[in-house]
Symmetry: C2
């Protein structure tokens, strides 16, 4: 048995040999891309890749077939990356994005919920000069933006404890809108009730299902019955209207104040850290130099390794994916679209090449937006 050092010296030598061949192969890829720019033709030709794979696998012992397949797949994938970059540099018009100027100062902003809901506070943080108009549902917000009644809509997409807001992602795709801003809001729930109420009188606690879940332990400890409402501010408003001393609301401090409720206890979330990420949506795709994040949605065929193949492209570009999740396709049972957020900027060459490769190689890709992520500074805890 040889010492590990000696084996590793061999490995390093082999890797240097492979590197030389790899660089030669990339030169060939350049010839291929030049040929295809001249004569036309897709970079990815599945039949050619399958043929190459089958030829190569003939000479490989069974126990290494899968290992070599991974290597060859990576080789051809990064070869395509190299070709796309070269083509896009020579012909930037290959990637056409319908980019509009960013509207950072909208006149009219619609949000889901009542005044003093967390969405309202987030909308105010983002657009302090805008007129903010409450809507009954997220769909109404999307509708107003699509119609042009609203310049911007503000809706939640993710909470640090409850996870993704699936419905909003569905609406993004359904209405074809674009994300222009993203804002992380610290959520600090209080429990509030009408004047005269106390922990001796209250039996029920009303709030949005997610807020109830975020305060689950607290609700159990105080032996309260949770009752679902469409929004935290709706709950506060309804309880204020009822005058009922047996009911309390879980809502923001601002909502309790606005509707004239008394705060029985502040900061009742189970997790000390509770944040919700909101997005601003517009009819237009826009970008600016300061943007740090890109979102897109893609559809993948339900075959072995297709998700991996799509993610591998992102890894090849060295980009950081900050979010990925799947949603079922309504019209194609058990087929999924994937929502991906990553660090990038649509004005940067590498981001553009990544998007170009993804668009060439996936059956459906839509850019959902380019934006930066801000965070509120209000940390009273």
């Amino acid at each position: 048995m040889r010492d590990l050092k000696d084996v590793r010296r061999d490995i390093n030598a082999i890797d240097h040999e492979i590197l030389k061949l790899f660089l030669k192969r990339m030169k060939c890829a350049e010839e291929v891309s030049d040929y295809k720019m001249e004569h036309g033709g897709q970079v990815l030709v599945p039949s050619r890749e399958t043929e190459l794979m089958n030829t190569m696998l003939q000479d490989i012992p069974d126990e290494l077939k899968l290992e070599y397949s991974s290597l060859l797949r990576t080789t051809t994938r990064v070869s395509r990356k190299h070709q796309y970059a070269r083509m896009l540099e020579a012909e930037p018009q290959r990637l056409q994005l319908d980019l509009h100027p960013r509207n950072n100062d909208p006149k009219t902003v619609y949000y889901g919920g009542l005044p003093a809901s967390y969405a309202d506070i987030a909308a105010k943080d983002l657009f302090p000069h805008a007129q903010r108009i409450p809507q009954n549902s997220w769909e109404d917000v999307f509708h107003a933006v699509l119609d042009g009644k609203a310049d911007i809509g503000v809706v939640p997409v993710e909470n640090s404890t409850a996870g993704t807001v699936n419905e909003v992602y569905d609406l993004l795709e359904q209405y074809g809108l674009y994300i222009t801003h993203s804002h992380i809001k610290r959520i600090r729930h209080c429990i509030a009730a009408c004047k005269g109420a106390s922990f001796d009188t209250i039996k029920e606690v009303h709030s949005h299902p997610q807020a109830l879940r975020q305060c689950q332990q607290y609700i159990k400890q105080h032996n309260l019955t949770p009752v679902e409402e469409s929004n935290t501010a709706v709950a506060a408003h309804a309880i204020a209207q009822s005058g009922d001393l047996t009911r309390a609301a879980i809502c923001s401090e601002a909502a309790a104040r606005l509707y004239g409720l008394e705060i029985l206890e502040d900061h009742v979330n189970d997790a000390d850290f509770n944040q919700t990420r909101f997005i601003a949506v517009s009819r237009f795709l826009s970008t600016q130099e300061a943007d740090t994040r890109v979102s897109l949605v893609l559809t993948l065929p339900h075959i072995v390794g297709s998700l991996y193949g799509a993610l591998a492209v992102f890894a090849d570009y060295g980009v950081n994916m900050t979010e990925i999740h799947s949603r079922p396709l309504r019209d194609m049972p058990w087929n999924y679209c994937f929502y991906i957020d990553f660090d990038g900027n649509l004005l940067r060459q590498d981001t553009r090449a990544l998007i170009y490769q993804t668009m060439q190689e996936c059956s459906y890709v839509r850019i959902l937006g380019s934006y930066s992520v801000t965070q509120d500074s209000e940390v009273k805890a």
Copy 2:
């Protein structure tokens, strides 16, 4: 400019050269694994891989650094795969799974909902001889299984239109239970009301939020107000009790019959295809030869490419991932655990090697179960 054929001939020749070197490198990997079996030591030594990467990248032009990084990462990853397989073959005890015999005929099965809810029907499909006990919540089901009051619990995990049931995944992890069966149930909602009610009298429609969403278009067309209830059967029961002719329920045909409601219209789901996948959960991890699927949960550090790295391992084994989704970690804000379902069997050598590699290379992995997926045959439409 050379013809594509000539360039491709060169590429094929280069690939054959690379293959020879690859096979030599795998021989070296075998030496490394033998050394480590003899002297101890982890297969994955991040510092060694970083050092190798840095050394190699010195000689590469900038525009090919990322491309080569992907190639080297794949090379080292499949080299580790080869080593794990070799070690596990020599020393099968390296992977210890606490496997129990499968209980295919439980005495007591708990489910969330009322009799004639879809969960009840799924439980009956799976375990026709068991006593079925309804529970108010999914958490109560998990509690009863953990306590040993129930042999098995039946809960939904995914719907073909509404997507993943996040809460059930959270409970799986929280209660440390295991999936033993999976059953796909065709969901066919009807709209039902008390005797004497008609589309002229009904104003409200009560049901589970997911069922309401599945019938969204229908509800809009008939100008009904949706009202959320905890369960479709709960909605049917409540309306039967109320005798109120202005309210209808969206529920199963079985629930309408059980609670004495009249069916106003059958098959009111928007999507023609509407299925829910249920799982059976037990205290014990079990497997049997006929199982076709494995579920696991893993935690990933929030660094560039960590998700891709984990998925790449699955791709290296050529396994089909049927489901992946992330959930935020309650105690670690913006960190996620990933739930992955894939085609495999815990008795098979390649599945065991894949799990072994994942366990060695991820900070946290738990097998959530081994099972097969059955489908109900009731297709009346």
